[in-house]
């Protein structure tokens, strides 16, 4: 750390350090002032204090680690005096970020990505742009993050209670999780989901892999038309698929049956299998199958011993996509299924539309965790597949 500090000496003027600190603290001061209905005082106070603090930590303390420690401690204490635990947390975060920001400015790191000839205006625009991008990322991620703490709400509200904001243990409880694991509606729904999704996945993966191998042969008549038909369930608006399936399946007696829902979900999952498996097969070296055949293996053996292990990551990824499609699907099951096939998303949908119960948030949190696991698996599969094909992972 010390060595790094020497490599990053203070390179900018005192005015810039103080100005940066003043700016950062002013923004915070404005927000704080607004909550107290004194925005102007907040801005001015923030500016003054920020300038002084920035100057002090850069010129007097000099070490980033010491100043960061000091500022976090200061933030903790002031915050706690203002608004107990939540205040302390905000204060500490502010102290840490403030110090980081001041040193980032003072050591000239802020120009790291920019050419040395960039004008101050360009520097400012660059950072504004990055801030805008981060705002968009926050827009993407916030709704998902917000759901998690709310699912531990002790009240039956969809909103943060004062007790939660003060980190009062009484404000938190696991009762919504308990409800999820004991309520027969939810348990039935999760059973149905796990009864439908794997079977639908199996169906779409087995048929889809076979067809993808066929499609990746060098000569396939009507390849484009066939591809268009096979991909169509993905592009078709779900409401149209649902309407058509509802009409047709009720005509042939599949509406409201388990089989009907499985078939419908398998059809919806197939495009994902086709896309991922054909993508994997693009990099497949066909001389391997010829080599295998020349060594006396029959086509079935060649498939299972040579081709399958190589395209397995693609197949698994396609299967995951198909599983998620079925597991997450609500429109089609709403129409094609009956009460006996009520899946998890369906139960959530009714929950959102009719009885607003925070149990939904508990379910949502569980599903978010599941999707994080899924994402990790896919990333690992991708890396493995690239390693197998001799491309180093990025």
């Amino acid at each position: 750390m010390n060595a790094q500090k020497i490599e990053n000496p203070i390179v900018v003027s005192n005015q810039l350090v103080a100005g940066g600190g003043a700016f950062f603290a002013a923004v915070f001061g404005l927000l704080y002032g607004m909550t107290q209905n004194i925005p102007l005082i907040g801005v001015i106070g923030g500016m003054a204090l920020g300038a002084v603090a920035a100057f002090a930590i850069v010129k007097i303390a000099k070490s980033r680690r010491i100043s960061q420690f000091g500022m976090v401690a200061l933030g903790l204490i002031v915050g706690y005096l203002q608004a107990r635990i939540s205040g302390a947390i905000i204060g500490a975060i502010f102290g840490w970020v403030f110090t980081w920001f001041v040193f980032w400015l003072a050591t000239g790191k802020y120009r790291r990505r920019l050419p040395s000839y960039a004008t101050p205006g360009q520097v400012l625009w660059h950072h504004t742009f990055v801030v805008i991008c981060w705002a968009i990322f926050i827009f993407l991620i916030t709704p998902i993050i917000v759901v998690m703490p709310l699912s531990f709400n002790a009240e039956n509200f969809f909103t943060f209670t004062p007790a939660m904001l003060n980190f009062d243990p009484a404000g938190y409880s696991l009762k919504h999780y308990e409800d999820f694991f004991t309520n027969s509606d939810w348990q039935g729904a999760i059973k149905n989901s796990f009864a439908i999704a794997p079977v639908a996945t199996l169906l779409s993966v087995s048929l889809g892999t076979l067809a993808a191998i066929g499609l990746s042969q060098p000569f396939v008549p009507f390849r484009r038309a066939i591809m268009a038909i096979l991909i169509s369930p993905m592009i078709m608006p779900l409401i149209i698929s649902a309407a058509g399936m509802y009409f047709f399946y009720s005509r042939v007696g599949l509406q409201g049956t388990y089989l009907g829902v499985v078939l419908a979900h398998a059809a919806l999952g197939i495009p994902f299998v086709i896309i991922t498996v054909t993508a994997t097969l693009v990099g497949f070296d066909h001389s391997l199958t010829r080599a295998s055949a020349s060594l006396g293996a029959n086509p079935v053996k060649t498939f299972f011993r040579v081709q399958m292990p190589l395209i397995l990551p693609g197949v698994i990824a396609g299967g995951l996509f198909a599983f998620i499609t079925s597991f997450d699907e609500v429109v089609v099951v709403l129409f094609v299924g009956s009460a006996g096939q009520k899946t998890l998303p369906w139960q959530m949908f009714t929950g959102l539309r009719e009885q607003i119960s925070p149990t939904i948030l508990a379910v949502a949190t569980i599903l978010v965790v599941l999707s994080i696991l899924m994402l990790t698996t896919l990333e690992m599969l991708r890396r493995r597949s690239e390693r197998l094909r001799g491309i180093s992972p990025g």
């Binding site: 927000l31 607004m34 625009w125 742009f129 990055v130 968009i136 993407l140 991620i141 709704p143 998902i144 917000v146 759901v147 909103t159 943060f160 048929l207 076979l210 067809a211 191998i213 066929g214 499609l215 042969q217 060098p218 000569f219 396939v220 066939i226 038909i229 096979l230 991909i231 169509s232 369930p233 078709m236 608006p237 779900l238 409401i239 149209i240 698929s241 649902a242 309407a243 058509g244 399936m245 009409f247 398998a266 059809a267 994902f272 896309i275 997450d328 609500v330 429109v331 129409f335 959530m348 949908f349 959102l352 539309r353 949502a364 978010v368 999707s371 994080i372 994402l375 896919l378 990025g394």
Partner: protein, 517 residues
């Protein structure tokens, strides 16, 4: 190889000409490929394409009127346009027979519901009439036929008539009525051979005999009855029906019935574009009944807004990711992929939590004293809510294609532009941006296609003003049960999507769809 002559065809190892041998092997390869594809193709055709075709079919199908009131419709159609709108006694007599059978089979309410979509009030008219038809006393016909010949009371006479070759030609309606009677008696679990024929069959018999002008091929029984029939005492069915409900004398009911008597109709489609099919032709619906035009326009408009928002938000972050080192870009990518992988219902419920009046955004605004407690913003159950939530949900579909295109744009191009004196803006606008247009095109079409067919999110956060055409389709399928109209709306939506799909295929290619990672 050395012993093949120079002027003969090149031969393969087994002696066949090489050309033919190659062609055969190519054919075999094609056949094998198709064989591998065939099971899936069949599966998709049955489970997915057939339902879509069925939907298209339902949007024009209208057999119910003709199937429920066959005799009446046949008579009206035979009369053609010269027939008076409220028909004569004969048609009402046929209507009685049709209605009696329909009421026994409980089909008259279904028909009433069907016609009620076109003119309100018909449903109750049919329900009421069906009830009363069963109670109408028409025994007088049966009695008079028995007086002519007691054989008529015997079901065996009828059975032998039904089995004889020319009776369907001579007595079409009586035979139809007799067969319909047998069918519903059997459906009730009774044996029709042991029951006495019901009175309404004799009404049909009377109508047939009155209309019969050539009796030479008929047997004695029919000839005798046909001679006696004109002097029969009859029931005035027109009067009876008008007494059930005076609407039967109204021209509007008969106009509707005649307009929708064809087995296929364009009526549902006209309905779906705010037109109506009248007796005299097509016309625009009255102002207060026009909803679909507005709904289609709103769906298109909101989809465009959502697409534009997705471009505005997606472009900067795709650019940032494309211009950072791979490792950093992958970390940023997780922030895009996490929402992409999270259940749709989770994201929708998250937006409900965020946007509602006691929700996170309003709470924050109140906490910052930007709005006061009473002035909490209405962010949900309107168009704003739908646009925000759907932009969030569809944003990954914009970022992923944009990113994959931007990754391929070499940085040196913009550097070269700058070295030639371009400002940052010119370098971006004239050099970088044009190269990223394919990504924008691909992402926009994808987002647009996905958003015009969206159902779940508008249903939950859209309230009444933020809903899409798909919500209306769902309403017609599950609540109003007007399947034909739902199918017509769906077909129009399908046409729009297919058009866009075709454009997408032209620009991007269907097999170039990328799925994250």
């Amino acid at each position: 190889m050395s012993d093949s002559t120079n002027n003969g065809p090149v031969l393969a190892a087994d002696g066949t000409p090489l050309k033919r041998s190659l062609r055969r092997s190519l054919r075999l390869q094609k056949f094998r490929a198709l064989l591998l594809i065939a099971p899936l193709l069949a599966f998709i055709l049955i489970t997915f394409i057939a339902p879509i075709a069925d939907m298209l079919f339902r949007s024009v199908e209208n057999k119910i009127v003709e199937e429920t009131l066959p005799q009446t419709i046949a008579l009206i159609d035979a009369g053609g346009p010269i027939e008076t709108i409220v028909p004569n006694q004969k048609v009402f007599s046929a209507l009685y027979v049709d209605m009696f059978v329909a009421a026994e089979n409980k089909e008259h309410t279904r028909l009433g519901t069907r016609l009620n979509y076109e003119q309100s009030g018909i449903s109750s008219l049919f329900r009421k009439s069906g009830r009363r038809v069963a109670r109408l006393d028409v025994e007088v016909y049966k009695k008079q036929f028995e007086e002519v010949d007691p054989q008529w009371a015997d079901v065996a006479t009828w059975q032998s008539l039904a089995e004889s070759a020319n009776s369907a030609e001579l007595l079409p309606r009586a035979m139809w009525a007799y067969n319909a009677w047998r069918d519903y008696v059997r459906a009730d679990g009774d044996n029709p051979d042991k029951e006495a024929p019901e009175d309404f069959i004799y009404v049909a018999l009377y109508d047939d005999l009155i209309a019969l002008d050539d009796v030479t091929s008929a047997n004695d029984l029919i000839r005798k009855s046909a001679d006696a029939a004109p002097d029969f005492e009859t029931v005035n069915f027109k009067e009876a029906f008008v007494k059930f409900d005076k609407d039967w004398a109204s021209e509007n009911v008969w106009k509707t019935l005649r307009t929708y008597s064809t087995p296929y109709t364009e009526g549902y489609f006209l309905n779906a574009i705010d037109f109506q099919k009248d007796f005299d032709g097509y016309s625009l619906r009255p102002d207060n009944q026009r909803i679909y035009g507005v709904l289609f326009m709103r769906t298109l408009f909101m989809s465009l807004v959502i697409t534009a928002c997705a471009v505005l938000l997606g472009y900067p972050i795709a650019w940032l990711m494309a211009n950072r080192p791979m490792r950093e870009a992958n970390l940023l990518m997780i922030m895009v992929l996490l929402p992409f992988w999270t259940s749709l219902l989770v994201r929708t419920s998250a937006w409900k939590v965020m946007l509602q009046q006691q929700g996170v955004i309003n709470d924050t605004l109140v906490w910052l004293n930007l709005v006061d407690e009473a002035g909490r913003l209405v962010l949900i159950n309107n168009q704003f809510g739908t646009i925000v939530a759907m932009t969030h949900i569809l944003l990954p579909f914009m970022v992923l294609p944009l990113y994959s295109v931007m990754r391929t744009i070499p940085e040196s191009y913009t550097r070269a532009a700058k070295s030639l004196g371009a400002t940052n803006w010119t370098a971006f606008w004239r050099v970088y941006f044009p190269q990223s247009v394919p990504g924008i095109g691909a992402g926009s079409i994808l987002v647009f296609i996905l958003s015009i067919g969206y159902y779940i999110t508008p249903e939950i956060v859209g309230g009444t003003t933020g809903t899409f055409i798909s919500n209306r389709i769902a309403y017609h399928i599950s609540s109003s049960l007007n399947w034909g109209l739902a199918a017509a709306l769906g077909t129009i939506l399908l046409a729009v999507v297919l058009l866009l799909y075709w454009v997408y295929d032209r620009i991007v290619g269907i097999d170039n769809v990328k799925l994250g990672g």
